[in-house]
Symmetry: C2
Subunit: 296 residues, 2 copies
């Protein structure tokens, strides 16, 4: 662990610093903490530009990752640090679910789209998931408050990829007072109508169709109407999951039309579902959240 890193946690902080590395004009940090929402240790990464390290309040963007990922994938592969350094933007990447550990036996499933790595950022109501799989409460209450108390954050926007793009759209429209801006990359647009999401929601919500609809991004947007002056969504045109029907981008477009929610939806020729796509458009998303933060 290096000695030149500058952020001081509060007295009696719940956070433990795992690592800190200088990166452009800022620092990439990792923290862990015991979560009351998930009853597990949770880990997140946070990029702090020098402005934030110096105590200046900066806009932040919360990035929700996709199936199978943890905080590492986006932190290593999305290439967000340079733009965040240039603009003075904080970038936060939580894990995608609670995880088993030596002290903690968290439920799981053999399918990569259910269980650990596949929370869909909802609060499960069914056993055995309800005990730990409370990622909505984790993100919008526990982590949200912890970030605001421990770091020099002005406003928070939300974005994400694939399952995390669904999470960004869902949480952004369910909790518009918490988030100043919303964007998504290759989002699952309607979890309750995709094969991945149907499998997960049957586990997490049983046969309660109301709960499944309330945990569906496109249906939530249609139900609550316009919340943001503009949302930005990028989708690779050569994404095999789009072709397979997991993403259903047209449902998002339809929901935004009905909700009169302005949407910038871009199909990127040749691009697939990978982090090679994410890195190709992430700067535009950071700039979107930056602009929205400046307008408020």
């Amino acid at each position: 662990m290096n000695n030149s890193y500058n952020h001081s946690l509060s007295a009696n902080s719940k956070l433990t610093q795992i690592s800190a590395n200088r990166c452009f004009d800022g620092e990439q940090h990792y923290y862990s903490h015991q979560s009351s929402a998930t009853k597990t240790q949770m880990t997140f990464s946070i990029y702090l530009p020098d402005e934030a390290l110096a105590g200046h309040r900066c806009p932040a963007v919360l990035y929700l990752s996709g199936l199978t990922c943890n905080a590492d994938n986006v932190t290593h592969k999305a290439h967000f640090q340079k733009k965040c350094s240039e603009l003075g933007m904080i970038f936060i990447a939580p894990d995608t679910s609670p995880r088993s550990s030596e002290d903690n036996d968290v439920p799981n499933d053999e399918r990569y789209f259910v269980g650990q790595g596949a929370s869909y950022y909802v609060d499960a109501t069914q056993a055995p998931w309800a005990e730990n799989f409370n990622m909505q409460s984790y993100i919008v209450d526990e982590l949200y408050d912890l970030l605001r108390s421990e770091f020099s954050i002005d406003s928070i926007g939300v974005t994400g990829h694939s399952m995390g793009g669904h999470g960004a759209l869902l949480l952004g429209f369910k909790f518009p007072s918490k988030f100043i801006s919303v964007s998504a990359l290759s989002p699952v647009c309607s979890a309750s109508e995709s094969a991945w999401g149907q499998a997960a929601y049957t586990e997490y919500f049983g046969d309660d169709d109301d709960l499944k609809s309330q945990a569906d991004a496109a249906k939530t947007i249609e139900a609550v109407g316009q919340q943001y002056s503009m949302i930005l969504v990028d989708q690779g045109a050569a994404d095999n999951f789009l072709a397979e029907g997991q993403l259903q981008t047209a449902k998002l477009q339809d929901a935004c039309e009905k909700a009169k929610q302005p949407l910038t939806l871009r199909y990127q020729a040749g691009h697939d579902h990978s982090y090679y796509f994410i890195q190709s458009v992430i700067d535009d998303h950071i700039e979107h959240h930056w602009r929205m933060a400046q307008l408020n």
Copy 2:
């Protein structure tokens, strides 16, 4: 595997494409091939901007990775793709050594700085290493010729990190007719006088001190004199391996002075030895190689 990727290999090509992903205005590819130099399958990554995919000859930079790495680390974590896309630059990342496989039992060592992942880009003369550990010949002859025959390459510069920074300096000054430009990130500057390199060279060269000196970057620069109008080296000032004496940056500075080799050496405050450092300066290295290619 996606279907929208454009590069055609030659008839009877020795290369097998492993993957291809659209990334910015270009494609990130991986290839494998049977190497005659190492007698193993070797894998490399190559970023091809659209100019190269369209058949326009582009400058290329060959990046030699550090201890324990393979082609993935730099390809995922160094964030070179955006700048290469903007400039129309090809970026090639070979593996750091031959590897064992199901068909092939390559020598190894328990120490992370000897054996697989730690070739130092030299041709070993001692058993059991001499059979496979011929990475100098692999890089400057076999891979070099293969790249030129299979891709639309104009000139080739060489760079690298840590052990690979040593490789870039060593091969750049031993084979100046092959490379148009040289740079290095956090290089081991004098392998024959670092603890890592001494352990490796004792295995690869036995007690032949002449061979060890001929495989030493600083000594080679001093012996052959100026070869490039300028070389660029970045070093993190908070790099623990610098403090431990593995890198010996002062020996490079001294060798360049004696050789009258112009050197831009930058110490970057707060930065360590990680890919968070590499990504923070890689654009400057790509631009250095780009400028040198334009001058020729």
